[in-house]
């Protein structure tokens, strides 16, 4: 329990620092901008209460927003991500997992499930994020291309991170 707690706090700081100081400066012509800080929200324990999850998502989003000068945009996207996560876990996991402190990381869970989890939730997050940022349906195809390319970018970075911390048969 304490280990999970400290791991998550460390992950929060590491990912947010990486996001605002490193990944903020990486991009491809404003078309693909990675947001791998959402990995923190993805890796929260499965059994976390909804209210705490939303609070953490909000705090994470606001923190990143503070550095991006887009107060509320990332927060809203993170809240959407939290909702998507709750729904996704309810649909795909058996009920006995709900109360566990399991971290849904590759190695603990099968890769196929993990990949789907990351792709679906990243897409959901980026959809909300870029639509809120653009705040218009004008040139919608441009926004869609940004969402698509950014998703690919973020998913690749998240999978690379996961590979770094991959430990087989942790259970």
């Amino acid at each position: 329990m304490a280990k999970v707690f400290s791991y998550n706090i460390a992950r929060f700081f590491a990912l947010v620092v990486l996001q605002v100081f490193l990944f903020k400066n990486i991009g491809y012509y404003n078309l693909a901008t990675p947001f791998p800080y959402i990995l923190f929200l993805l890796l929260l324990p499965v059994g976390i209460p909804n209210f705490i999850l939303y609070c953490l998502a909000f705090i994470t989003g606001i923190t990143v927003d503070a550095f991006y000068d887009t107060l509320g945009v990332n927060a809203a996207a993170c809240i959407a991500l939290a909702w998507g996560r709750i729904t996704f876990l309810r649909v795909t996991l058996q009920t006995d997992h709900y109360e566990s402190y399991m971290t849904p990381l590759w190695g603990t869970v099968p890769f196929r499930w993990y990949f789907l989890y990351v792709v679906v939730l990243t897409t959901f997050h980026h959809l909300v994020l870029f639509l809120l940022e653009a705040f218009t349906f004008h040139q919608f195809h441009y926004t869609l291309i940004r969402i698509l390319l950014s998703c690919i970018f973020t998913v690749i970075i998240i999978l690379l991170f996961s590979l770094l911390f991959y430990r087989k048969k942790q259970r």
């Binding site: 909000f58 927060a75 709750i86």
Partner: protein, 277 residues
């Protein structure tokens, strides 16, 4: 009540999502200027479109009234057009400077003869004594200063252009209000003039505008030109400033003759100083 509570707890994820998302969305709208502007815009667009639709319908109902109004206006304009096409008519405008109590009459005249390539250039106007023009009046155009009326006949008058070696017009700088004499000087370029007698200590900026001072025949504040070269030393304690004249002498068409109603009184008063001195 119990059922409501059950629903709330069962779908707590959704309701929490609504609450938190609403909060985040509120922050977005409130704090990000672009989103705020476009949120307001889209609602305005809605209202604006509605008004435009309604107006398009309403305007049909008023077509008859509009037609009558336009016809009436046409008639008035036609009447006034007649006045303008009459060859001998005079158009006069009056500017009343209430602060100083001075009246300037403006007499519109057409340029019938013009030269810019001589050492001393003269302009002929199609208005004369009959139309109220007198010797010594100032002449301006919409773009700047033109010159001073030299001779008047019954129907014509000649103007000593600013492009004349003897013409001197009192002018001042925009920033410092230091005044000097604007003249054509020694050059042969119809676009350039020289502002003399500005003291050495005055700071002059390139591109600064030069206006009439109001000490001579012209109303104050009429644009004369723009400083293009500062501090050409005249060899003594005065600066010679090169000025790009704002008047387009080469295509001068319509000019205004300035009739200063109080000029005579001023001259008479100033003449007394000489008598005493």
């Amino acid at each position: 009540m119990k059922n409501l509570w059950l629903i709330l707890t069962k779908y707590n994820a959704f309701f929490l999502f609504i609450i938190f998302f609403g909060l985040a969305f509120y922050l977005v709208i409130k704090n990000n200027s672009f989103q705020r502007a476009s949120a307001v815009n889209s609602s305005n667009q809605l209202v604006g479109t509605a008004y435009a639709r309604i107006n398009a319908w309403k305007s049909y109902l008023h077509l008859a009234d509009e037609n009558a109004l336009l016809a009436e206006e046409n008639a008035t304009l036609r009447e006034r057009l007649q006045q303008f096409t009459m060859p001998d008519s005079v158009v006069r405008g009056t500017v009343r400077d209430s602060a100083r109590g001075i009246q300037y009459h403006y007499i519109v005249a057409k340029v019938t003869n013009n030269s810019i390539h001589q050492k001393n250039n003269y302009i002929t106007l199609d208005k004369g004594r009959k139309h109220g023009i007198e010797k010594g009046m100032g002449v301006i155009s919409s773009s700047g200063i033109v010159g001073i009326v030299l001779n008047v006949s019954e129907h014509f008058s000649t103007v000593q252009s600013l492009l004349h070696s003897e013409t001197r017009i009192s002018a001042e700088l925009e920033d410092s209000h230091a005044f000097g004499s604007l003249m054509w000087g020694d050059n042969y370029d119809a676009r350039m003039g020289i502002l003399r007698d500005i003291p050495n200590h005055v700071k002059v900026r390139e591109g600064e505008h030069v206006y009439t001072s109001g000490f001579s025949l012209f109303p104050p504040g009429i644009l004369a030109g723009r400083v293009i070269e500062t501090g050409v030393s005249g060899g003594d304690s005065f600066l010679d400033i090169r000025v790009e004249l704002s008047t387009q002498f080469h295509n001068l068409q319509q000019v205004y003759v300035v009739h200063d109603l109080l000029a005579k009184e001023k001259e008479a008063l100033e003449a007394q100083n000489d008598d005493n001195g």
